[in-house]
């Protein structure tokens, strides 16, 4: 009332009184709403002694599998608690949540148990998540090592294939042929064979000339028409000659390995065989054995020539055999190279496929390792005490509104009462009414600038109330701000997370 008495005059004073009382009631109502938690908390503590307290903690883990494995592995109830305490602990797993509940007569005991179990469980979950994570990381590293080996194999196959294709080209060519020893030998043999045949043809020509000079009525039997530049068309069948021409034409364009040329060569050999078989006495044996003795007997020079021709013919024959075998060898060798190239190509393809699949496998393994690491980090523990559930549920807004309305009514009543019992003289009417003295003069507020105590007191009174309101509002803000609970929860989590390993 003293503070109210310091307030000013008339309607302003009434407004001050009503407003301040309303605000005070509002603040009181809000404070009541805030304090209800504490009151209910204390009441629940008192009740807990007789009724028992139910405390619980909820675990959440990103991976339900990790959580269930960890809880199964840790054997929470048995390993941690004595038998009588273990019976009061319930563990329920729902998906990736685990709910621990404890029923104890004392709230602090229940909280202690829940906290202890929660820290143990969180440690177990973290440990398990660590193990899973390290295992996943090891698997990923193994796959990576395998992938590295596969890539090395593929690189080796690629190098070998490149070497094969450069040193033994599948496509024949002038340079490629020279790189192969067999081919080189075949070409040399063919050159030697051609030279030997030319020599044989020359010998035949000389021999024929010599025989003509010796007036022999019968021309000597014709040697097989092997030489391309042979001058005796009689001894060479036309078919053989045509074949030789064709072969010569083709040899200008391709090698002997070409299938067409090889076929022509084979046909020519067959035809020549046939011709040799028909004129065997005149072909093979005639130069050396047939007419030679008689001729040599008659002309020693002729005989010598014939002997020379026989040697050349033998060389030709040997060279032909060698060429045949070499051709066969070259063909075999080419086939082997082709087969090897095909095999390496296949190996290369398979290793590429393997690398692709291994890369995918590695990606999956890495993802799994990352997920197991994240599941460890996402573990959270929350302790819920039953005291929070004992609140009446009336909101601060409702209580504040009711308080403000009640305060307004009360304030108006108080203003009327204060008006009735106001002990302060403010106006000339007050003075005349209560002092029974005439008012000689009224000096308005402000006229005496140096002496206006009333205004000073008004300011101080208003300032006092303003300070009270500001402090109360700040206090209410601190209490009512919902973010504080979140902050407190975060702080608590941080503290429990730091406490648990």
């Amino acid at each position: 009332m003293t503070a109210l008495g310091m307030l000013r005059i008339g309607w302003a004073r009434k407004g001050w009184i009503a407003g301040s009382v309303a605000l005070t009631a509002f603040i009181a109502a809000l404070l009541g709403a805030m304090l209800e938690r504490r009151v209910s908390y204390v009441a629940s503590r008192v009740l807990a002694v007789t009724e028992g307290v139910h405390a619980e903690a909820v675990f959440a883990c990103k991976s339900a599998e990790v959580l269930s494995r960890a809880l199964a592995g840790s054997r929470l109830e048995g390993s941690l608690l004595p038998q009588e305490l273990a019976e009061s602990v319930k563990v329920e797993v729902e998906g990736r949540f685990v709910r621990l509940s404890v029923e104890r007569p004392s709230a602090s005991e229940a909280e202690y148990l829940v906290e202890r179990i929660a820290s143990e469980a969180s440690r177990a979950v973290t440990q398990h998540a660590n193990e899973v994570s390290s295992r996943d990381r090891a698997a990923a590293e193994e796959i990576e090592e395998r992938l590295r080996q596969l890539r090395a194999n593929r690189d080796a196959a690629q190098r070998e294939l490149a070497e094969l294709t450069t040193s033994h080209p599948v496509e024949p060519g002038p340079h490629g042929e020279l790189r192969s020893v067999s081919r080189r030998r075949l070409i040399e043999t063919q050159d030697s064979l051609a030279a030997a045949r030319r020599e044989l043809a020359e010998l035949d020509a000389e021999l024929a000339a010599m025989r003509g000079r010796s007036a022999s009525p019968e021309p000597p039997p014709e040697a097989p028409p092997r030489a391309p530049g042979g001058e005796s068309p009689r001894g060479r069948p036309e078919e053989l000659e045509r074949l030789d021409r064709r072969i010569a034409e083709l040899r200008e364009e391709m090698t002997d390995l070409h299938p067409r040329l090889a076929a022509l060569l084979a046909e020519r050999a067959r035809l020549e065989e046939k011709l040799l078989g028909r004129g065997a006495p005149a072909g093979d044996s005639a130069p050396g054995t047939g007419p030679a003795p008689s001729a040599s007997a008659e002309h020693p020079e002729l005989a010598a020539k014939e002997a020379l021709r026989a040697r050349v013919a033998a060389r030709v024959s040997a060279l032909e055999k060698e060429e045949k075998s070499l051709s066969e060898q070259v063909r075999t060798e080419a086939a082997a190279v082709e087969e090897r190239v095909a095999r390496m190509t296949l190996v290369l393809k398979r290793s590429t496929d393997d690398i692709l699949s291994t890369e995918q496998e590695l990606e999956q393994a890495k993802r799994k390792a990352a997920a197991s690491t994240a599941s460890r980090a996402a573990l959270s523990v929350r302790t819920k005490l039953p005291t929070e559930a004992r609140r009446s549920g009336a909101s601060a807004t409702l209580l504040g509104s009711l308080g403000a309305a009640f305060g307004l009514v009360l304030g108006v009543l108080l203003a009327a009462l204060a008006e009735a019992v106001d002990p302060v003289l403010r106006t000339a009417e007050d003075v005349m009414k209560h002092l029974d003295l005439p008012v000689l003069a009224e000096v308005p507020a402000g006229a005496l600038a140096a002496s206006s105590p009333a205004r000073g007191r008004l300011v101080s009174g208003g300032l006092l109330w303003l300070c009270v309101f500001v402090v109360a509002a700040a206090f209410l803000l601190v209490l009512a701000y919902p973010g504080w609970e979140t902050l407190a929860e975060l702080f608590r989590r941080f503290g429990s997370g730091r406490a648990s390993p």
Binding site: L425, T427, V431, L437, L440, A445, S451, P453, R455, R457
Partner: protein
């Protein structure tokens, strides 16, 4: 000065005639017989000290203007928050006259229940307003021994002050400062002077104030507040009337106590000046 003196003389004689015809002498305080005749207006300090014992010797008793002639003079005083001539002071003067103080000589005590309520401003304003029309000789005395404020308010020289006069160091006429422009005389009190209520209650004080009443038509005394000082009670009995200065917001109890203090000391509360009142 001659014009001023003539005006004074005429106005004083006129008012005395009027007062005697209206039989208003009852409001004048009872004084020892012959005191007016024996008190020296310009007594030397030693004589003034001896006069404090009631032995005021005769002197310039017949010439009330002797006091003004010997007073220190200034052109004008500084103007307080309430300037003479304003509506408030005009109303106050009328009300004071209506309350029974219309007949000089009169001593008006200005006091109140609390400090800083505007007593000094009201006293200075009332004295200035009374002196404004040159009809009366008006003296403003600062007797607020706790917080003397007249000297500071009106910018009055306090080389000699009330304490000097009462303690015998100076003559009253020498301590008074007279402003021709304002037609106002001031007997100030230095800040920090150790004047006590006992000194003001002494016989010398009574002699001094009775002498001042003779010399001036109106003596307005700023007496400080009744709550912290005994001066209002001491001077109330010698005053013709007391004006209570009440600040708006003062409690009824304090106002009643203040009025009761004046009445119990034999004073008469003629009315209230309400300061800091809400504007209408």
């Amino acid at each position: 000065m001659n014009v001023l003196g003539e005006a004074f003389r005429r106005s004083v004689e006129r008012s005395r005639q009027k007062a005697s015809s209206a039989e208003t002498v009852r409001s004048r305080p009872v004084r020892p017989a012959g005191a007016e005749d024996t008190m020296k207006l310009a007594c030397p300090p030693a004589q003034a000290a001896s006069g404090a014992g009631g032995q005021a010797e005769g002197g310039a008793s017949g010439d009330p203007f002797e006091f003004l002639r010997r007073a220190r003079r200034v052109a004008t005083f500084a103007e307080g928050p309430l300037a003479p001539g304003c509506d408030i002071l005009a109303g106050l003067r009328s009300a004071v006259f209506s309350a029974g103080l219309a007949t000089p000589p009169a001593t008006i005590l200005v006091t109140g229940p609390s400090r800083s309520s505007g007593k000094t401003a009201v006293a200075a304003g009332l004295a200035g307003e009374l002196a404004r029309d040159l009809l009366y000789r008006v003296l403003l005395v600062d007797a607020d021994i706790r917080r003397p404020g007249v000297a500071a308010l009106l910018q009055v020289d306090t080389e000699l002050d009330l304490a000097d006069v009462l303690e015998g160091r100076s003559e009253a006429a020498e301590a008074v400062v007279y402003s021709e422009g304002d037609n106002l005389s001031v007997l100030a009190l230095r800040a920090g002077s150790r004047l006590s209520a006992e000194t003001l209650a002494s016989a010398a004080s009574r002699e001094l104030f009775s002498m001042l009443r003779q010399a001036f038509d109106y003596v307005v005394i700023d007496a400080g507040d009744t709550a912290s000082s005994a001066v209002p009670r001491v001077l109330a009995s010698g005053a013709t009337g007391t004006v209570l200065v009440l600040p708006a917001g003062v409690t009824r109890e304090r106002a009643r106590e203040s009025a009761a203090a004046i009445r119990s000391a034999g004073g008469k509360v003629v009315g209230v000046v309400l300061t800091g009142a809400p504007r209408r």
